[in-house]
Point group: C2
Chain length 211, copies 2
Amino acid sequence: MRFDEPRLCPVDLGTGLLGAGDGHYRKTFADLKGLYADEQAFSAILAERADEVAYEVTSYTPGGAVSDLIVGVTRMEPGKVGNEYFLTRGHIHARANRPEVYYGQKGHGLMQLESPDGEVRILEVGPQAICYVPPFWIHRSINVGDEDLVMMFTYPADSGQDYGIIERSGGMKVRIVDDGNGGWAQQPNPDYVPRSAATIEKLLHDAGLAA
Amino acid sequence: MRFDEPRLCPVDLGTGLLGAGDGHYRKTFADLKGLYADEQAFSAILAERADEVAYEVTSYTPGGAVSDLIVGVTRMEPGKVGNEYFLTRGHIHARANRPEVYYGQKGHGLMQLESPDGEVRILEVGPQAICYVPPFWIHRSINVGDEDLVMMFTYPADSGQDYGIIERSGGMKVRIVDDGNGGWAQQPNPDYVPRSAATIEKLLHDAGLAA
């Protein structure tokens, strides 16, 4: 057996990208259809910026085991769709009992967290703030500042992502909007459908935990 | 079942400490006996600074599973013992197939890595450099700058530390010394005893891997 080679990956705060990684994906505005409440405002953005990158993730994946750690950097443009701040699609881990660590590097971000049973937490992730996303929490990041939001992240390499859980509940429970004073506020999402006890039980069961 | 509470832990680059954590350990110079080649120079430091903190680690441990991630910050004083730069004791993980991620925040550091079969890698971990320590690599950090070395880190919560592996080989294979021009250089450690094939095989076997 050979031992895996140690690796140095520089984080470029200017570009918001990880160097010496092996993964890079980009979400354009066209990819984000259906995420925002104000469809008219979203169409106006699409008309001008459909193919521009809304957010991108650069990463390094050393292996696929639960003990391997994927590391990377996420960069998100600042802006709003109507009064709703730019956001990522959001996900729960496909292995739902996997956590994630985010570490704010630049800009003014929020981590929007929602437990399967509908608890909501909003944490401010500015530079030098570590945000621990525990197992089972659905999470998305939001740029409430006026510059790029850049965060470093790491999570177990076998975690996977389930993006559908948010669609199946009609979006996350709250939306993060401009409070009219340049800050942010939570607004209930009228389309939100709480998860059933059976859905929650299945999440726990699939993770090997009794409900 | 309740879902664990998300957590925000600020990293203070001034003090080199993690806020809102649940662990804090300090190593004084008196704790570091036997690590340095120049015993006379070490005695001179002990005479003046025995009870001072040489390095300290603040951390947050959310749980104990392989998929839980311990996060924290390490801070190390700058200085030398004779011509050898200040260093941490160093370890391999008790579950030797667990990796670790370090992320440079302040100062000028090195990660000294040694594979069980005696390969040596020295990586420079300055601000915004992520260092991936793969499974099975013994590692220690070294402050080759003239200010505090501060790094964020994370690793699987069931990893554990085996500090004895370095003692059992008479130290690590190389020492990092002043090159005479304010930089650093590697110097062979004459006391180093290579690990036997049986020792390496046992490490792999204990990690569930055939040799």
